[in-house]
Every structure is written in structure tokens, then in C-alpha cells.
């Protein structure tokens, strides 16, 4: 039996006066590929932030590898989580290169007083070759196109050699061809490394293609959690699709 990788126990998350996720509980097993589906404002991104310890948790507990997320464990746990944010607002003049943005993801794992070495160089080469971004590594990150930035952020998540991958709308900004390539890379890495992967998307086709299990959120609550096939039937019934 596979061990529980992520566990949320009655978690509520909010910003200011609004509660976005309301008393949510779920378990995700090691090696699962889970789609988080829902309309805008359903709480998908907030759920990823709750798992990553970036959200303001008002109630409940989050466990990664059976270790509770708290002030003492957060940095250790975050080092095994690769996270691709939905958007990143960056000034085009910012003096930081794409290569530096990718390597920054290893800084926590490297620890204080240690700098990227041969291992990081090798990982960088491999991942950038896969994502076809070798030619933009020396460009300022702020000057990359939306699609290039997205691929750099995916590389950033992968260079951590994560046990858990949190992907927030990763296909936004990618063109048709690159969407196909990136989804194949994610699928292959998931199969080869057995990384527990959570993919947030509001596009049913992406979920259909990649995920085994789907969590459907509406107004911060789970309205469906189960196999992809059942989810598709439920979705089509709800939307009157034959």
C-alpha cells in the first residue's frame, strides 16, 4: 500500500475578511497524478499555496510525508516541493537572468554558505535541454515572453528534484506545440521518478489528458474527488454535454 504523501485535515484558508477554502480535508498518495479542477475563484491556487505553506491557514493542519507543516518544519518540507506559480509579475529591467531564476530554487536545498556546483550545472543542462530553453538562459528573466517565463519556472521546479510537484496553470501562455511537448515531459518525469503531482487547471482537456484522479472545487469546497472517468461523466452531465 502506497504511503500518504499529502494530507489536509479540516483546512480553512482566507485572506482579509474572505474565507477561500472552507474546512477542506483530503489525502494524496505517493506517486498520484491529481488534477485540481474548478472555475475562477474556486480556490485551486489557494489549495496549492496551502500545501506549500504559502497561504494564511486559519484552521486545520497540513501534513507532508506525515510531518506537520509548521514554523519549524516549513523550510525542510518546502525543499522537497517543486512549485510553478500561475503568474509572476516582474519588471523587465530586473537585473536577474533566467539561469539565476532557475538555480535559485536549489538555494534552500543547498543551505547557507554553499553555492551551486557541478551537480546543479548538470541538472540545469539536462532540464533546459528537455524544455528547450538553453538559448534563453543568459537573457534577463523580465524580458522573456510569457511562454518562455513559464518554461523557466517549470525548469525551476524540476531542478529541485522534488518529491511533490505543484503545477498551477502551467499551460497558460504556451503555444499549441509547446503545450504538447511540456505535457509529455511532465508525464514522462512523473512516470519515471514517481513524483506526486498536482496540476491545477480550469481546462477539462488538460485534466483528461494527464490526470488519474480529479478533485473538483467549487467555492472552496470539494464537490467531487475520484477517478478521472467518473469526473468526466459528472462534468458532462452538469454542463449538459452528451
Amino acid at each position: 500500500m502506497k504511503k500518504t504523501k499529502i494530507k489536509l485535515d479540516n483546512v480553512s484558508v482566507g485572506y482579509l475578511t474572505e474565507t477561500i477554502i472552507k474546512g477542506l480535508s483530503l489525502e494524496i498518495k505517493e506517486g498520484e497524478f491529481v488534477g485540481i479542477f474548478g472555475h475562477n475563484g474556486a480556490g485551486k491556487t489557494t489549495l496549492l499555496c496551502a500545501i506549500n505553506g504559502l497561504a494564511n491557514i486559519r484552521k486545520g493542519r497540513v501534513f507532508i510525508n506525515d510531518i506537520e507543516f509548521n514554523i519549524f518544519t516549513e523550510n525542510l518540507l518546502r525543499r522537497i516541493i517543486g512549485y510553478v506559480p500561475q503568474t509572476l509579475d516582474i519588471d523587465p529591467k530586473l537585473p536577474i537572468l533566467a539561469k539565476e531564476v532557475i538555480l535559485m530554487a536549489r538555494y534552500g536545498k543547498l543551505g547557507l554558505f554553499h553555492f551551486p556546483g557541478e551537480k546543479e550545472k548538470k541538472l540545469l543542462e539536462e532540464i533546459c535541454y528537455l524544455l528547450e530553453i538553453e538559448h534563453i538562459l543568459k537573457k534577463p528573466f523580465g524580458q522573456l515572453s510569457g511562454g518562455e517565463r513559464k518554461r523557466v519556472l517549470i525548469a525551476r521546479a524540476l531542478i529541485k528534484e522534488p518529491e511533490i510537484l505543484l503545477l498551477d496553470e502551467i499551460f497558460a501562455w504556451l503555444d499549441f506545440e509547446m503545450t504538447g511537448k511540456v505535457s509529455k515531459i511532465i508525464e514522462e518525469i512523473h512516470k519515471r521518478e514517481g513524483i506526486t503531482t498536482l496540476l491545477v487547471s480550469h481546462e477539462i482537456e488538460t485534466i483528461k489528458k494527464l490526470c488519474e484522479r480529479v478533485i473538483w472545487l467549487e467555492e472552496g469546497k470539494i464537490i467531487y474527488d475520484g477517478k478521472k472517468e467518473e469526473f468526466i461523466k459528472k462534468f458532462e452531465t452538469k454542463n449538459g454535454i452528451n
Partner: protein, 268 residues
């Protein structure tokens, strides 16, 4: 050039060098994180602290440091939690510290010239103790920047992503604020409470126009800050201008030049 022979001018040049290095480095953080307003609030807190010290007839520097650190302790959580819009809260702190400063100034029983010196700065009257304090501040700012270069780079790039990488981003953010406070406190006497902030922002903003490399930005920012100090001092001596104001005008001139010749500028 005859002025260089005088001890007071040599001390002023050394103070400008040290203040330039500290302000140049701190400015890089402030400009990249776009928290200029926090810097303004800290520098006005230092001024308020110094005036309280004058009112109580106590040494100026410990009080200005204390007020800077207090401002950091208040501004950090405000900027972190986002419960109030940061600019609103910082605006309130900025105006209230300025209000306090002028209250203490109004209560001063004797001449206000010492207080005005703190406002405009008096780099030509710095003493050995002021220089020692600047050396200590520079030492801390440089050492921390070198040792934690990668962590600071990640934090000033994006605090949320730095957190997600497993870096103690909040601790480093507070460290940046504290070093900013320390720099403001240490340069208060030489550059002045109102002008120190311009010496933090202008050189770094000029360097920002020129390079895409973070290490070069640190270097250029320090060079511009030191040049502003030295050229400002010579102009002040030659034309009998107030030194602090001359330094800031030179730094503004450097900024205008770097914007005009910036390789990052969109050419039409």
C-alpha cells in the same frame, strides 16, 4: 584641491566613501524590491530619534538607531501581512515620525541649528567617532551581502518564491530592513535625515538603468554613491553650497545621465 590637505576635508571624503558604500548596497535592495517608501519612513524615524536625543540632551546616534529599528519592527509586519495597504500604513508612519521630529524640534530650549544640521547633514564636521560608526556599518552591510548573496538575491527577486524554495525569506527580509535602518542611522549626521534617502535610492536607481547583472549593479551603485559624495563635496567647497544638498543634486544628475544613456531604454 588645496582642501585635501585639511584634516576636516579628508574626514569628509572618508565619510562620503563609507556612506557611499553602505547606501549603495542598501539601495540595490530597496530599488529592486520597490520599497522606496519604507526607506523614507526609516530615514524620518532616524531624524525623529535624533531630535528626541537632542531634546533629552543625550547622544544622538543611539537614539537614531533605536528609532530606525523601531520603524523596521513596525514596517516589516505591515509590509508582510498585507492587512492594510502598505503605502497607506507607511504614509501614516512617515508623517507621524516627521510630526514627532518637528515636535521635538519645537520643544528644544536653545538654538535649532544642531537640529537643522541633522536634517540637512554636516559632512564637513564629522569626527572620528562618526567615521568609526560608518566603518562598522559598512563592515556589517558588506559581510552580510557577501555571505548571504544567494539568499538575498532570491528574497529581493521574489519573497514568495524564495519561501517556496525553502529559504527563511521573512528573516532575510527583516535583516535587510535592519541593515537599511543601521545605514540610515549611521549616515544621519553626515548626509542628513532628509537627504540620506536620496543617497540610497538615486545611485541604485542609476545602476538599475545600466546593467542586468546583480553583482555589477551592487558595484555601480556604490561607485555612483561615492562619486556623488566626492563631487558634491568639491562643488560645495568651491561654490559654498550646502554639502548634503550638493551630494544629492550630483546623484540626481548621475541618475538623469544613466536614464538618457541606458541600454535598457526603449529607443523610438
Amino acid at each position: 584641491m588645496e582642501l585635501i590637505k585639511f584634516a576636516f576635508f579628508q574626514k569628509a571624503l572618508i565619510a562620503a566613501l563609507l556612506a557611499g558604500i553602505a547606501c549603495g548596497i542598501v539601495g540595490v535592495w530597496i530599488v529592486i524590491m520597490r520599497i522606496s517608501f519604507i526607506g523614507v519612513a526609516i530615514s524620518h524615524s532616524a531624524f525623529a530619534g535624533a531630535l528626541l536625543a537632542l531634546f533629552l540632551n543625550k547622544p544622538v546616534i543611539p537614539f537614531s538607531f533605536l528609532f530606525c529599528f523601531l520603524a523596521c519592527a513596525i514596517l516589516g509586519p505591515i509590509s508582510d501581512k498585507g492587512q492594510l495597504h502598505p503605502e497607506t500604513s507607511i504614509g501614516i508612519i512617515f508623517s507621524s515620525t516627521l510630526g514627532l521630529a518637528f515636535l521635538f524640534m519645537g520643544l528644544l530650549p536653545e538654538s535649532k541649528s544642531q537640529a537643522l544640521n541633522l536634517l540637512w547633514g554636516s559632512i564637513l564636521t564629522v569626527n572620528l567617532l562618526d567615521i568609526i560608526i560608518l566603518v562598522i556599518t559598512c563592515f556589517f552591510v558588506i559581510i552580510i551581502t557577501v555571505i548571504f548573496f544567494k539568499e538575498l538575491q532570491a528574497v529581493i527577486f521574489n519573497r514568495e518564491l524564495a519561501k517556496a524554495s525553502g529559504i527563511s525569506a521573512t528573516i532575510f527580509f527583516y535583516l535587510l530592513l535592519l541593515l537599511t535602518g543601521m545605514t540610515v542611522g549611521a549616515t544621519l549626521k553626515s548626509v542628513g535625515g532628509l537627504l540620506v534617502f536620496a543617497l540610497i535610492v538615486n545611485p541604485a536607481a542609476s545602476a538599475y538603468q545600466i546593467t542586468y547583472n546583480m553583482k555589477k549593479m551592487y558595484f555601480l551603485s556604490c561607485v555612483f554613491a561615492i562619486l556623488s559624495g566626492w563631487i558634491g563635496l568639491f562643488l560645495s567647497a568651491k561654490f559654498n553650497f550646502p554639502a548634503g544638498a550638493s551630494i544629492i543634486i550630483v546623484s540626481t544628475f548621475i541618475f538623469i545621465i544613466s536614464v538618457i544613456f541606458s541600454p535598457k531604454r526603449v529607443k523610438k
